[in-house]
């Protein structure tokens, strides 16, 4: 494998990481919004979201990506590979984030909410000043864990034709007739990226445990 090959692998890795980060950035607030709707028990919307989240959490990235990429054009929405990839990854991570946020909301101590009610805070103010600052902290380890899982699942976008690290490795292998080196290199590079997220997760968990002890 020549230096040019390494470069395309690196570029491919960048593409997949960028897509993952985009999905994470949108999925986090989207998951929170969905969780809040479920927490408030909004009629019709709550059970609909529950069903949708259950479906998405069972959906393999490849299958969902194929659905979005090939099926949307049939209902008139033309979509390209990269947006389809982002939509796919975002939907999946938002569904998992929704469950994480919801877990934190359900566990939230009721007496703190009652204290906020008793000083005359309305629902929006309670959310902003009392609930969100605290669940951001409590949900963080699980959320970072989900980021790690998303990065690991992101090679699914290769099936849509996005030139991510998997496709880059495929191309190099096709050109050199030696698939093992590029795939091994791809595996190592991508595992290192995942490892960075794992380190971040361990850091978050360590700081959380230290805060609890103090």
């Amino acid at each position: 494998m020549g230096p040019g090959d390494w470069l395309s692998l690196a570029q491919g890795a960048l593409v997949t990481v960028a897509l993952s980060l985009a999905a994470i950035a949108i999925g986090l607030p989207l998951g929170l919004a969905l969780a809040l709707v479920r927490w408030r028990g909004v009629p019709y919307a709550s059970p609909a979201i529950a069903t949708l989240v259950s479906l998405l959490r069972a959906a393999p990235g490849v299958t969902l990506g194929l659905l979005i990429f090939f099926a949307l054009p049939t209902v008139g929405i033309s979509i390209e590979a990269i947006p389809a990839a982002i939509v796919t990854l975002t939907l999946i991570t938002a569904a998992f984030d929704c469950e994480i946020w919801r877990g934190a909301l359900v566990d939230f101590p009721r007496d703190q909410l009652e204290a906020a009610q008793s000083v005359g805070m309305t629902a929006g103010t309670r959310l902003r000043l009392i609930v969100l600052p605290q669940i951001l902290r409590s949900a963080l380890p699980a959320l970072v864990n989900e980021m790690t899982l998303l990065v690991k699942a992101s090679p699914a976008v290769a099936v849509l034709g996005v030139v991510d690290i998997t496709r880059a490795a495929v191309r190099i292998g096709a050109n050199t007739y030696e698939p093992l080196p590029p795939f091994s290199a791809a595996l190592v590079i991508y595992s290192l990226v995942v490892f960075l997220f794992v380190l971040a997760q361990r850091l978050v968990e360590r700081r959380r445990r230290a805060a609890e002890v103090a």
């Binding site: 007496d111 204290a115 000083v119 005359g120």
Partner: protein, 267 residues
């Protein structure tokens, strides 16, 4: 000359949880500056009654009127009050919780300041000065920047009282404020409450502390099985109970308390 309206008027309050009737027609009137202690055995409905007074629990029927304004229901009598209107009325009622219910991500002084700042939208400098004064009043001036995790139970409850006072309420409600405290921390909270009563705060206190009821209350109300059994001045109630149930209650509960007080005084 017209007398000022009572701060609180409760009429025919009922509340059931499923089949269990907790409040069975409660009437209560609290005048300005009065301190009313609500006593009763466990399960008598005392806490539920208190929580109905600021609509943390919604009563099934009956009325709660705060300074001639009806709580929880619009003037017509048919429609539930909007969340915003209810929140506005709640700013006039202070509530002190049995388990303190402080917000753990805020320091003591931030706990006291947050509602005047964001609900009443008062200027920060004014709110800060008042918060410091209130914390000083409850004896916690040097703990202003401490977080609840670093405070003892008695200190947390005193912050809770300061937090309730910061809204300048017309009425203060106390839900068994010392029941969750270790015995040696009870005193510091009762001292603060006695001072508030002396200063003319209108207070309704649900408590087991008979000593406090004797010394600080203008009136004592005994509740059992969701009804008012007897009401009167502390002297009348403790020394000369009129009803059989009151006598039974005093024998079971007040006896232990006076014995403990006597032991503390002797030791």
């Amino acid at each position: 000359m017209n007398a000022p309206p009572p701060v609180l008027e409760v009429r025919a309050l009922t509340k059931s949880f499923g089949d269990h009737v907790v409040l069975d027609g409660i009437d209560l009137v609290v005048a300005r500056g009065e301190t009313v202690c609500i006593l009763g055995p466990s399960g008598s409905g005392k806490s539920t009654l208190l929580r109905c007074l600021n609509w943390l629990e919604t009563p099934d029927s009956g009325t709660v009127v705060l300074s001639r304004e009806r709580l929880g229901v619009l003037p017509g009598g048919n429609h539930r009050m909007s969340d915003a209107a209810l929140a506005r009325m709640r700013t006039r009622i202070g509530f002190v919780f049995q388990h303190f219910a402080l917000w753990p991500h805020l320091s003591a002084i931030e706990n006291v300041m947050i509602a005047p700042l964001h609900v009443q939208r008062r200027p920060r400098a004014e709110v800060r000065a008042e918060a410091e004064a209130l914390l000083a009043k409850v004896g916690l001036a040097d703990r202003a920047d401490y977080f609840p995790a670093k405070l003892s139970g008695g200190q947390k409850q005193r912050v809770g009282i300061a937090r309730a006072l910061a809204m300048k309420p017309e009425l203060l409600l106390f839900d068994e404020p010392t029941s969750a405290l270790d015995p040696e921390l009870v005193g510091e909270v009762l001292v603060v409450m006695r001072e508030l009563a002396r200063d003319g705060m209108t207070m309704v206190v649900v408590t087991h502390e008979m000593g406090f009821a004797r010394e600080a209350a203008n009136r004592v109300v005994l509740i059992d099985h969701g009804r008012v059994v007897e009401t009167g001045t502390p002297e009348a109630f403790f020394d000369n109970p009129q009803t059989e149930r009151a006598r039974q209650f005093l024998m079971r509960y007040a006896g232990a308390s006076t014995r403990a007080n006597g032991a503390a005084a002797a030791g």
